[in-house]
Amino acid sequence: MPGASLTPLDVNVIPAADGYSIQFDTIETTGDLDVMLDAAHSIVRNVLLGDIGSGVLLHGASLRVGGSNVVLIGDKATGKTTLSLKALASGIQVYGDEHVLISGPQLNTRPRTLRVKEGSIHVVTEMAAAIQQCPFLINWDGSKIYSMAPETSDVTWQLAPYSVDHFICLKPNHDGSSDLEQSSSDETFQMAMTQCFLPDEGRGQSLAALHTTIGTAKCWNMRLGNLDQAIGMLQQMAIDHVK
C-alpha cells in the first residue's frame, strides 16, 4: 500500500505515584492505564490532524459501491465495521472502517485495518474463516479483536483520494430489518459534527470544509438491522443515484 513513511514520535513515559506520566511537547498527562491510552490516542490524533492542517478527521467507514463513494457515519456500535465486513463479503471495495480525513474537495481514508470483535464474527459467517486467520489482540475482557485488511481474493485494498457521493448516518436496529431513507445535508452535518475531531486552530474553516463536502453529496439515514437487506439497499442506492 503506498503512503508516507512513518515517523517515530519521541514520547517520554515515566512511572508516577498514581500510574504513569506521559510527556509530549509541553503537555504532561498523569494517570492510570486508561488515562495513558487516551493520552497516547490524543497524541497520535493531534499529530495526524497537524499533518492535514485545517482538515477534519471524521469517524466513519468508507466504501466504494458500484462506482459511488460512500461514507458511513454513526456512533460506536452502530455497525460500521459489521456492515463493512458484509460489504467486503459481497464483493464491495472497503477503504476503511474508522477514519476519513477531509481537508479539501477530496477525501482520504486513514489507512488502518478493520478491527473485528470476536463477538461480531457470527453475523458475517462467510468471512469467519478469513477473519480468524488474522492477527489479533486480547481485549480487556479476554475476547479477541482481529486486525483484518479489507481484502479478499476478489477485492484489493486500494487507497486513493476520492470525492464522496453518499453520506449515510447509521442507526442501529439490531435483530430488526434495515431501511434507507433520504436525509437532509443539515441533519447529516449535525450528525457528522458529533463524530469528528477538529484541529486546535481554524475550526471554523475545517467545519466549513465538512459542510461543503456533505452539501455536495446525497445524504441518507439507514436503520441497520438485516445485513443482506442493507447491502441490497446500498447497491440499489448506487444504481439509482449515479452522479
Binding site: 459534527m193 475550526r203 471554523g204 474553516q205 467545519l207 466549513a208 459542510h211 452539501g215
Partner: protein
C-alpha cells in the same frame, strides 16, 4: 423573548470565525466552542447587522434582492441569532 422593533439595530459579536460555504456561512464561536450554520438569507441578515442598518433596512434589502412581493420576517432571524449569541443589540 426579546421584543424586536423595525427600527432596532444589531451588530455582530467578536470572536467568531466566519467561513463562507456555497449556501451560506459556517460560523465557529471560538469562546463557546459552538458552530452555527446560516443559510443564504440568514447570512445576509448577519452580514447587514453592522450597527448601522435597522431591521426595516434589512427587510427592504432582502425583499429587493430576492424580488419578493411580501415582507421578509427578519425579526425571527434576528431573534435566533440573538439567542445563539451571534449578534447583540445596538443601544
Amino acid at each position: 423573548m426579546t421584543e424586536i422593533s423595525t427600527g432596532d439595530r444589531f451588530q455582530t459579536l467578536e470572536g467568531m470565525e466566519l467561513n463562507e460555504v456555497p449556501d451560506g456561512y459556517v460560523i465557529y464561536d471560538n469562546d463557546n466552542e459552538r458552530v452555527h450554520y446560516l443559510n443564504s438569507t440568514a447570512a445576509i441578515v448577519y452580514q447587514m447587522s453592522d450597527g448601522k442598518h435597522s431591521v426595516a433596512d434589512i427587510a427592504s434589502l432582502l425583499k429587493l434582492a430576492f424580488e419578493l412581493d411580501e415582507d421578509v420576517d427578519v425579526a425571527t432571524s434576528v431573534q435566533q441569532m440573538l439567542g445563539a449569541g451571534l449578534i447583540c443589540r445596538v443601544e
